[in-house]
């Protein structure tokens, strides 16, 4: 799905990530952890083409991102569902339209009003909030809405950056169960989080690999979790 080969990324100052080699195989479940500021979000951004690696090769669905045009990136994003750390919605549109937005922008309006959308809304437990505007939602509702928007196109890969960042334990458990369910349906999942207890709780349900960023490099975390 997504392959990184000796990828490095540097901001103006120094190198933030270097020599990252990683392969997200279809149907795999990965956690990405490490102290804040080590480059988790940067790595996520590299994975959906918001940033281009400064060295090495990054392939999405077999194509090197450096060779992709702006429209190719847009098309690629329809196959990657992203849940952001600080979820952004179109604040003037009701929740259902926000969740159906990926369908609308890719010319699949016909499906936006269908029963799939209703099912998805009830799956994330937001049916009763369908007509609410995004600013009226609580933190947990926003995160679940973001997940619904990320998966409505039935993407092959789901990238979630601190999806449980500002919600309580019970809600984060619920969100995680949704992600596990998606993984069981064959989706590739990558979750960036610094919450180790969340990782432990998940490992009971799914075969998850834990990647840790330290010293600008990525390591497979061992049994200490």
């Amino acid at each position: 799905m997504i392959e990184l080969e000796n990828v490095a990324y540097s901001y103006g100052g120094g190198e933030l990530l270097s020599d990252i080699t990683l392969k997200l195989a279809p149907g795999s479940f990965h956690f990405l952890t490490g102290p804040s500021g080590t480059g988790k979000t940067t790595l996520m951004k590299l994975c959906y083409g918001a940033l281009l690696p400064t060295a090495g090769h990054l392939r999405m669905f077999g194509a090197d991102v450096r060779g992709l045009g702006r429209d190719d990136i847009a098309l690629m994003r329809r196959r990657v569902g992203v849940v952001h750390q600080d979820v952004k919605f179109l604040d003037h549109l009701p929740l259902t339209e926000n969740i159906a937005l990926p369908l609308n922008v890719s010319g699949r309006q016909a499906e936006a009003g269908g029963t799939d959308l209703e099912e998805l809304m009830s799956w994330v437990g937001l049916t009763h909030r369908a007509d609410a505007l995004p600013p009226e939602l609580s933190g947990g509702e926003r995160q679940r809405a973001a997940l619904a928007r990320a998966v409505i196109m039935s993407p092959d890969v789901i990238l979630a950056d601190e999806p449980t960042g500002n919600i309580d334990w019970e809600m984060s458990q619920r969100l995680l169960r949704l992600l596990i369910e998606l993984n069981r349906m064959g989706k590739t999942v990558l979750i960036a989080t610094h919450d180790l207890s969340l990782i432990r709780a998940t490992k009971a349900h799914v075969q998850a690999r834990v990647l840790r960023i330290a010293n600008r490099r990525i390591q497979l975390a061992g049994a200490d979790l």
Binding site: G49, V82, H92, V105
Partner: protein
């Protein structure tokens, strides 16, 4: 062409992704309307002065005047003699002495009506209509000076040239104004679109994230500004044309001032103003949107 079709067909959903902008939308509408209103007048000026230049150039070039300045008792005889000379002159289609009534009418704007012409040493005017290559003024003057001492030939070229030049210059200024108005519309729409794009940076970022192509995002803005400019310009054009229609008609006395306005097929020209404004808005918004989008990931 596909983009143009999309503009008019519209996409209700795509329209909704950009939040409505109330006040600034009305400013765009108003500015486009005002510009179109001005453009209608600039066009009226250009077309009218072009028409005047043509009329003056043609009509005056095809005619000349012979003035008989002689004491009252010799005037009739000299007029006869001059007419005889003119009848045998090459390039003259017809020559005709104006009647007292006609001369009175010509002088009426200056001396008022009911002027007793018969007692005044007013020169007799002979209207000469030329044909073909026109007459040879030098040869005619020689013949007239030999046979009719009181005759003076005026072939109009002396005062025709500056009039035609003035009218041509006026026409040029009118076209330049029209072009400037078009450029101002482009600048205004670019500013408005730029402001809208900047104000909606977050919307654009969200759209990019969920897989919208640049074309999709740009279209949402282009459609909005093109339609606003088109609508505003249409209203401005209608008002401008009504104003031109309502220009007071100065009748026979007004001379060239009455010419300001449209004649015949020229009425079609102002109708192009909204379309051109729409096209300018389309191009300007497209350029602004593409410029802004290129800077985003």
């Amino acid at each position: 062409m596909g983009a143009l079709r999309a503009i008019f067909k519209g996409d209700r959903q795509a329209d909704r992704v950009v939040p409505p902008s109330g006040f600034t939308a009305q400013l765009t509408l108003f500015a486009a309307g005002a510009m179109a209103f001005l453009a209608v007048f600039a066009l009226a000026l250009s077309l009218a002065s072009g028409r005047l230049a043509q009329v003056w150039g043609q009509e005056l070039a095809q005619s000349a005047t012979v003035r008989i300045v002689a004491p009252l008792d010799q005037r009739a005889a000299q007029t006869e003699a001059a007419l005889k000379v003119l009848q045998t002159t090459k390039g003259v289609a017809s020559a005709r002495a104006l009647t007292d009534a006609e001369q009175e009418e010509l002088l009426a704007p200056w001396f008022g009506p009911e002027l007793a012409m018969e007692n005044l040493p007013v020169p007799r005017l002979i209207e000469v209509v030329e044909e073909g290559e026109g007459l040879d003024p030098v040869g005619l003057r020689l013949r007239l000076s030999a046979e009719v001492p009181g005759a003076v030939l005026d072939d109009h070229s002396r005062w025709r040239a500056p009039l035609v030049a003035a009218a041509s210059r006026l026409r040029l200024l009118g076209w330049i104004s029209t072009l400037l108005i078009g450029a101002a519309v482009a600048a205004m729409v670019t500013l408005a679109a730029q402001a809208a794009l900047a104000a909606n940076a977050q919307v654009i970022a969200v759209l990019r994230l969920v897989g919208a192509t640049d074309d999709y995002i740009a279209r949402a803005f282009i459609r909005r500004f093109t339609l606003r400019a088109l609508l505003g310009a249409a209203a401005g054009t209608v008002l401008g044309m009504v104003a031109v229609i309502l220009l007071p008609d100065a009748g026979e006395a007004g001379g060239f001032l009455t010419g300001l306005g449209f004649r015949g097929w020229h009425w079609v020209v102002p109708l192009l103003v909204p379309l051109l404004v729409g096209a300018v808005a389309f191009a300007a918004t497209g350029a602004a949107a593409r410029r802004t989008l290129r800077e985003l990931t």
